[in-house]
Amino acid sequence: MGKKIKFIQGNEVVVEAALYAGLDFYAGYPITPSTEIAEHMSVRLPKIGGKFIQMEDELASLCAIIGASLTGHKVMTATSGPGFSLMQESLGYAIMAEIPCVIVNVQRGGPSTGLPTSVAQGDVGQALWGTHGDHAIVAMTASNHQDMFSVTVDAFNIAETYRTPVILLFDEVVGHMRERIFMPEPGEIPLMERLRTSIKEGIDYHPYLPREDGRLPMSDFGGVHRYNVTGLAHDMWGFPSNNPKVVHGLLRHLIDKINNNANQLLRYKEYYLEDARTVLISYGASARSALHVVESRRRRRGERIGLLELQTLWPFPFSIVRQKCANAKYVVVVEMNMGQLLQPVRMAIDPPEKVYLANRIDGVFITPTDIRSVLRLIQGKGM
């Protein structure tokens, strides 16, 4: 093997992965259960010549990284539900102005300040529709440290490729848990660097004029080109426009660049789906409990049960979910909320009546026993 093994918290994995991806600017306001991200970042970043700023609040944190990103830096902030709520306004700005950035939300119990030290997955819907206006978003998650690392690196790559904010929806359990990780070597995971314009100084640069492949080359703000950035609907120069054709084109571009590339953005893992009659669909920490149930039921009683673990939550992978559950008799969504991913799963599956929910919303990590109770009910074997 020869690889470097570490035994660290999930939050620290996120820091290591962000640095691996080339992050050199972080602004944030520490909040449980994401605090260790800011803590480790404040130690690690200055040592490699990056900048760490502790901001006055979460509104400022996201604004700071948006500005830094425009000047050419790879950026991230981390928070939890209450801070993520405060970020919704500038999240919309980053979507509209097409600013590459990564926003980590280590979820805790809500609404409001809720349960600071307890686990939940209640911000899944918010990640998609928390900010106003028609838009598309990329939100990803993972259930173990090795995957947290690669998903985080992916988030940076996607942010750069599509000029978009990417949301990492982790949770208190994976954030605080410690387990083994083999640290990837430099070069092992490909990195996407900033696409910069080749247009020279003194020649007109159109910041919002897509190339043929749909990508928008950037010019470091404050560098050789002067251009406008705004949250208003804008034309290819970045200046406000209410011309219906321009506005229509802009909105379609913002949504299509994500939704039309859903296959490139899709990350998932599957366990025993070839023969599964019962398919569990889960993500984040909940997927660990689901996998525990799958492994033990297959081993102990040879039950044909499998797991589809989603790592990309938005854009929602309708076709994969439909395809993977085609032969299933029962589909059970395992999550720690009242069914925020259950809804799109039901939209994907025909008939939707075969989709059930195994959940927990009391701040306690969903256990294999919780999932088994639901399975017993729907499989008709009584309690």
């Binding site: 093994i5 035994f7 449980t32 600071p116 030290t117 307890s118 359990v173 605080h176 848990m177 410690r178 387990e179 083994r180 660990r288 409990s289 996998l291 525990h292 492994e295 990590f365 256990t367 294999p368 026993t369």
Partner: protein, 181 residues
């Protein structure tokens, strides 16, 4: 090696979570085992019931929390009252004589160790109480070797405090040995 499921419980500030991390890290880094450490705590910085779960195994661990520990450590009365019933039948319950009065016989090996007393008498500083406890625990369970634990401590503790930690760990190992049976 058989799976070992441990729950460490006490009050915030006693070093319960640190001890759990050191044990799990020793298992992973120095013994080539698989281990997961999880924790739950209240919003308080100090005080309040603290709990940390460690699973040590030779195969993948999915569910990272412990429902029925083989080994349960309780360092406060509050922690004991809250958790003593979750121990797996035939498991090992370790309590500290100074902080915990055991009220009921459980279906487990109960070891009431004078850990706090020993650390105060021989070192005089409660700061290494958790390390002495860890020494006693690994001596009673043989979960990992003391050398592995010491190697982890060396990477986490300023050099000036190493000797104190080494002594405490050894005192814990010796104390645990007296209570083996």
């Amino acid at each position: 090696m058989e799976r070992c499921r441990l729950v460490f419980s006490g009050s915030g500030g006693q070093g319960v979570i640190t001890a759990a991390i050191v044990l799990a890290e020793a298992a992973v880094i120095h013994e080539g085992l698989i281990s997961v450490q999880a924790q739950s705590y209240g919003p308080e910085a100090r005080g309040g019931a603290t709990r940390s779960d460690v699973i040590i195994s030779d195969s993948e661990i999915y569910f990272p929390k412990v429902n029925q520990p083989n080994v349960l450590v309780c360092l406060t009365q509050e922690a004991y009252n809250k958790f003593y019933t979750i121990i797996r039948p035939g498991g090992l319950l370790i309590t500290d004589t100074r902080f915990v009065k055991t009220v009921e016989k459980v279906d487990a090996r109960q070891r009431e160790l004078p850990m706090y007393e020993t650390v105060m008498e021989k070192i005089g500083k409660p700061i290494v109480f958790n390390i002495l406890m860890l020494g006693a625990l690994i001596s009673l369970t043989e979960a990992v070797r003391p050398e592995s634990v010491m190697k982890v401590i060396e990477t986490r503790i300023p050099p000036a405090f190493l000797e104190m930690n080494r002594k405490s760990l050894q005192m814990g190992v010796d104390l645990g040995r007296e209570f083996r049976s």
